[in-house]
Amino acid sequence: MTAAPADTVPAPVPADGAAPTGPEPAGPEAALIRDMVRIRCVEEELCDRYRDDQEMRTPTHFSIGQEATAVGVAAATGPDDLVYTGHRSHAPYLAMGGDLRAMVAELYGRESGCARGRGGSIHLVDRSAGFAGSAAILGEMISVAVGAGWSAALRGRPQVALTFFGDGATEEGVFHEAVNFAQVHRVPVVFLCENNLYSISSPLGQRQPAGSTITDRVTAYGLWARSVDGNDVYAVRAAARAAVQRCRTGAGPAFLELHTYRWREHVGPGWDHDHGYRSREEIDAWMARCPIRRAVEVARPTQPGLDDWVREWERRYRAEVRDAVRVARAAAWPPVSTLVDGAYGAGR
């Protein structure tokens, strides 16, 4: 375990301070910040618990530093839309309004978990929130999202499917096959590539040709594709709205490359700048572009008392996740007698 980099970089949200005096900021911009703060708080708390309790026996991929992509995209979705993700699933789940207690219980392997303890961190699901599933085999959910969007179109529903995946997943054949199909059939699906520059410890330049971009490659299939600053939540939301809008009008699929960065190690709670694959300077530079801090800076002039409210939200959500952990740990395990239940459906 190594210490957090950037001792000198202030935490994006100070831990204590005055309680806010004015009314809670309302409106969509404040909601974006609030949702990012909530996800950050949840994930930081879960990181600590993961490391210290040794009770969450499920490999976890945290999105700390990448909150703007999930929150910006979720803000562009409607109640009937469906989101599918790969392994880095917590942030999109929470951004879509997935049940926090059910997610935490899932990480603790409890029967009250969102997948009844069978799936773990990489198989989160909350259908009532439009979070339709996550899976751990790279690229696996990309084609599934195309199928979901296609079925909506076939049945004449104004539903859009969205799918999150990383830069690494775009190397899989299924990504290209799915993009091609979606374009040919004008499927209402939004492909969301969170380009965080690494696939585990392999840097992008070692995996994809220099002088080309993922967006360029997708553009060659004829898709409407945009390259977006993924740490700017407002830019992400604007691009996602345009993408979803295209889908709704039957104009076919859309693709967004969201440039961002994960602060922690690929899987698990640790900091990993001393393993030689990325430098502390690089992490520090990205932490200085913290999506929460940037969004606050933009909103501050028009939102009096925002900083106090950010602190208040942090307190609120820290308490919320601690409570969720407490509830999860007190919850029942799945009975071993039910081990094989659910492997098959009803009837023969």
Binding site: Y50, R51, Q54, M56, R57, T58, P59, T60, G109, R110, E111, G113, G117, R118, G119, G120, I122, H123, A135, A136, I137, L138, G139, G168, A169, E171, E172, G173, S199, I200, S201, S202, Q206, R207, Q208, V267, G268, P269, H275, G276, Y277, W333, P334, V336, L339, V340, D341, G342, A343
Partner: protein
């Protein structure tokens, strides 16, 4: 003989084969990183660098085909998957091409690509990160499939794979990596299709593959205190399968337990039972017992995962049932893999 861990034995075999044969290449996601595929590719990368130990993009399907093309054209690619589950994306190339190449082109040369797949069992790896596909690959004629259970075999079978003319799938259970055992210094090949008696006994034969060999040995230790002699047969490779060593043992003991890290249906355990039923049906003094996974995907939740994976304890139960004995005061055994810690 000096002792090595299982992962050290794989690393040593890789390095020695690369030294003696300049056409040996290692391909895999992250084979060059600080973890070096559980340590198994670290020394090879340090010694031979990125030209021969190649970090590949996330493209299992293409990489399998690329390795086959290279193998058919004179190279010796060793493809590594940190989770054997990812090999399903390589399935088309491995099954439709690698397995059939030599035969369907009229025996004018094969595509001897070697593929290592690691079973990631434990710590909530779940449905798609902990299954062992050895029987899946074992089904197809033209592939050799081995499940090394000891450090010496981990080395010897890899050496044989990299020297032989048949495509090979090696399935390694990550719970075996820390285990130690004597390993020859020289790169001595272990042939495919030759099992070994891991422990001799006269009352029950336990035929096991991979991690189940370790579980069977622990079960045999305990049963010995009860006067039950368990013979543990480590098949080493599931295709070709050493039918002789299995049938000779069962002919002597009259009782068979098959222990596998995968499911019973259409699997390794079913195959061994069929071989015995076909070859020495008169030898069986009791019905065959299979110790395998329950009929569901791997769950994540801790107590479910514990219940899902059979181990020494289930083997003890099966053996006792066959000899008509009761457990009595014998303590329950934890799995040989119980000490594994996360986060991954």
């Amino acid at each position: 003989m000096r002792e090595l861990t299982y992962w050290q034995a794989i690393s040593e075999a890789t390095v020695q084969c690369m030294a003696e044969d300049p056409t040996v290449l290692v391909l895999g996601e992250g084979v060059d990183d600080h973890k070096g595929t559980f340590g198994t590719t670290k020394t090879a990368f340090e010694r031979y660098g990125a030209a021969r130990v190649v970090d590949v993009p996330n493209s299992e399907n293409a990489c399998a085909g690329i390795a086959i093309g290279a193998a058919a054209n004179g190279m010796r690619p060793l493809v590594v998957h940190t989770r054997a589950d990812f090999m399903f994306l390589a399935m088309d190339a491995l099954v439709n091409l690698a397995a059939k190449w030599r035969y369907m082109y009229g025996d004018q040369g094969g595509a001897p690509v070697v593929t290592r797949g690691v079973v990631g069992r434990g710590w909530g790896q779940g449905a798609t990160h902990s299954q062992s596909p050895h029987a899946t690959f074992g089904h197809y004629a033209g592939l050799y499939v081995a499940t090394p259970a000891s450090p010496a075999d981990a080395k010897g079978l890899l050496v044989q794979a990299l020297r032989g003319d048949t495509p090979v799938v090696l399935i390694e259970n990550r719970n075996l990596y820390p285990m130690t055992g004597p390993v020859p210094e020289e790169p001595e090949p272990v042939p495919f299709g030759v099992g070994r008696i891991a422990r001799a006994g006269d009352d029950v034969t336990v035929v096991a593959a991979s991690l189940m060999v370790a579980e069977a040995l622990r079960a045999a230790d305990q049963l010995a205190t009860r006067g039950v002699g368990v013979e543990v047969v480590d098949v080493r490779s599931i295709r070709p399968l050493d039918e002789r060593i299995i049938c000779e043992s069962v002919a002597r003991t009259g009782r068979l337990v098959v222990a596998d890290t995968s499911w019973a249906r259409y699997g390794f355990a079913a195959e061994v039972a069929a071989v015995v039923a076909e070859t020495v049906p008169e030898a069986l003094r009791a019905p065959v017992r299979r110790v395998t996974l329950p009929d569901c995907p791997a769950p994540v939740s801790w107590p479910l995962e514990e219940a899902f994976h059979p181990g020494a304890d289930e083997i003890v139960e099966a053996c006792l049932a066959l000899v008509g004995d009761r457990r009595g005061e014998l303590p329950r055994l934890t799995s040989a893999a119980a000490g594994f810690h996360g986060p991954y």
